[in-house]
């Protein structure tokens, strides 16, 4: 696979230094180069995916059929159906065409199209990850600002210690401990899933039921994510503390909290905000384990079940989607940073 990656990267390098790139203006050029490089990264993921599932296994047909014993005739039939006997470039082309048409194959487990499975699982994940990202950002940034501004205070010391423990904690372990303590022993919360077995009712009752199920997994992800946000916010605020413009603001006679709110925080906020975008890869790994622990019917659980079945088409589909999501999020983060921070444009 290394050769494949190198090939894509070489292409990326050529594109960057290629002719015509210097014609447009600075910002537009940076933006287009970054977009192009994201597209190429995505393409390399496609190539990698193709090799990983179709070329690397010694006998893909066996892989595709759970290693069951096959007659030569059956093997030939499978090779024909999946186009495995074709020359590699032909196979790759077919794969690309199928993928771009949204055809990701059928699950080995229940024969449903993978795209349909993903379509069903995507909204629970968006709900869970979205809610916890918003919460962890707000809380994490708040902790970071409060701790960083009064560095060495009791709040700072205890919050830093707390956040460091959270940072070292496997998210699924926290999930299991909360599950046993709050859902098992005390029965305050449901022990997993997204709705009650009765369906949870309709309208407001249904919404309440959903929120009740959402609480624990959301709490776990929020706690795990906020660790990093608060650490980054704290250290970027500390970086700003010695800046001259803060001295100026104080010399003007501004109150301490105005200096913080109007001058220091906006400047320190930039790295944290972009970090949220750049962090989606990390967020996804949290979603996989947390959804598994709480039986949350999202993409993470889908990929866990596919991993252990093993259900290769589904695993491949979720991997492709995760990669695409992270690449796009990285691109957005990168672009935001380029637009808002002129210093990045220079580099």
């Amino acid at each position: 696979m290394a050769d494949v990656m190198l090939e894509g990267a070489r292409a990326a390098a050529e594109e960057r230094s290629g002719p015509g790139a210097g014609a447009s203006s600075g910002l537009a050029r940076t933006l287009s180069v970054k977009t192009l490089s994201a597209v190429i990264t995505l393409f390399v993921v496609l190539i990698g995916n193709f090799f990983l599932f179709r070329v690397l296994p010694a006998n893909p047909a066996k892989n595709l059929t759970h290693n069951s014993t096959l007659t030569a005739k059956q093997l030939a039939a499978i090779n024909k159906t999946f186009g495995l006997g074709l020359p590699l470039p032909q196979q790759f082309w077919n794969y690309l065409v199928q993928t771009f048409h949204g055809n990701l194959g059928r699950s080995f487990v229940n024969q449903l199209p993978v795209s349909q499975l993903i379509g069903q699982a995507i909204w629970p994940t968006v709900l869970l990850v979205g809610t916890s990202t918003v919460l962890s950002t707000v809380i994490g940034v708040w902790i970071g600002i409060r701790g960083g501004w009064n560095r060495g205070s009791r709040f700072d010391r205890s919050s830093t210690a707390f956040v460091n423990v959270l940072y070292a904690m496997p998210d699924f372990w926290l999930g299991m401990v909360l599950l046993i303590a709050l859902a098992g022993k005390l029965a305050l919360f449901p022990d997993g899933g997204m709705h009650s077995f009765t369906g949870g009712g309709s309208g407001l009752a249904g919404l309440g039921d959903l929120l009740w199920h959402l609480t624990l997994p959301c709490l776990v992800l929020t706690l795990v994510y906020l660790a990093e946000y608060s650490l980054v916010m704290r250290s970027s605020l500390i970086d700003e503390l010695k800046a001259d413009y803060l001295l100026t603001a104080r010399a003007k006679g501004l109150r301490d909290d105005l200096v913080r709110r109007r001058h220091a925080v906006p400047n320190a906020l930039l790295p944290s905000i972009t970090l949220i975008m750049l962090n989606l890869g990390f967020v996804i790994s949290g979603a996989i384990t947390t959804e598994t622990v709480f039986s949350w019917p999202g993409l993470g659980r889908l990929s866990y079940v596919a991993l252990n079945a093993p259900d290769y088409p589904t695993l491949e589909g979720t991997f492709l989607l995760f990669s695409a999501a992270v690449i796009v999020a990285n691109l957005i983060g990168d672009l935001l940073l380029t637009v808002f921070d002129p210093r990045v444009r220079q580099a």
Binding site: T41, N164, I284, S323
Partner: protein, 308 residues
């Protein structure tokens, strides 16, 4: 060479200077209380891992020899209770320390070797004006970017599943997918080192690329690399825990992640709660210890960070 002071050879001088530098480093490190806490925790953990055969009979890991009541709470004979196969959780925890640390350290070694190689080579050739050098740098950094962008866990899951789950595969997968950050940091430092006059001197004296990189760039990147290595171990141990939890480990050689995975699959909350708590706390302690030591090292190396 030996004119005047006959006993002092250049080698002895260099050795004495290095000893003094290490002593100075240690004096500063010792003052960092959090770093020392981490170091003590690590020393205990590593001692447990090394002494595993003395502390707990490895026969206790084999379910065939396990005769205790499965999934029962702590007792006099089984201080941390038993798992679903009736094995002592304490025995598993001790041997888990051995395997978890082994995976963490080996994966880190792979990751750091690749990261340092890519970083130094890219930084060295990237600083030259030749197009071939620029090109090498560009290609290497695009590959690193790719590894930075593609989400680690799904990638590791896919690779480990297609190759087949085992401890070796986990080590390789973690090592091969986590070097990109190190490469970036090392390259930045190497670029800074490349502008120093002593490299110009080396070049003027006819030093080849290898000599420049090995004798001049690498030693100057080394301190940074050391701190980065320690911090990487924390990450690889967490990664191992997650992958093993998801069922990609080697069932015969228990790691902490695998214990957590088993506790999740076979009876979490039905009997022995310690079975779930103990490995988790062990992971937190080790990861925190590595993080504390790593940050303390960084602070000694970079005084600007010390005020944090």
């Amino acid at each position: 060479m030996t004119a005047g002071t006959a006993t002092v050879t250049p080698r002895a001088l260099a050795r004495a200077r290095r000893r003094a530098a290490i002593a100075r480093f240690w004096r500063e490190f010792r003052r960092d209380r959090r770093g020392m806490t981490g170091l003590i925790i690590l020393a205990v953990m590593i001692a447990v891992a090394l002494l595993a055969p003395v502390l707990a009979n490895s026969r206790g890991l084999n379910p065939i020899f396990a005769t205790a009541t499965p999934n029962s709470g702590p007792s006099l004979h089984y201080p941390l209770g038993t798992d679903s196969d009736g094995r002592s959780v304490l025995t598993e925890l001790i041997w888990g320390a051995r395997n978890s640390l082994l995976v963490g350290l080996t994966a880190t070694l792979i990751s750091i070797l690749i990261g340092a190689l890519v970083g130094v080579v890219a930084g060295h050739f990237g600083s030259t004006r030749a197009t071939a050098g620029r090109f090498t740098d560009n290609v290497m950094m695009r590959v690193a970017d790719w590894f930075l962008v593609v989400p680690f866990l799904p990638l590791a899951m896919v690779v480990a599943r297609t190759i087949g789950p085992s401890l070796g595969v986990i080590i390789l997968v973690i090592g091969l997918t986590s070097w990109a950050g190190t490469a970036r940091i090392v390259r930045a430092q190497a670029l800074a080192v490349e502008t120093r006059p002593y490299l110009e001197r080396a070049k003027a004296l006819g030093a080849g690329h290898w000599h420049q990189m090995y004798r001049h760039v690498l030693p100057n990147v080394m301190p940074l690399l050391l701190a980065n290595t320690i911090l990487t171990v924390a990450g690889t141990i967490l990664a191992e825990t997650t992958l093993s939890f998801l069922g990609l480990g080697d069932p015969i050689r228990p790691t902490w992640g695998q214990m957590l995975g088993a506790a999740y699959s076979y009876g979490v909350g039905t009997g022995n709660v310690v079975w779930l708590l103990a490995p988790g706390i062990a992971v937190i302690l080790v990861v925190m210890a590595f993080t504390l030591v790593g940050h303390a090292l960084e602070a000694v190396l970079d005084p600007k960070l010390r005020e944090r």
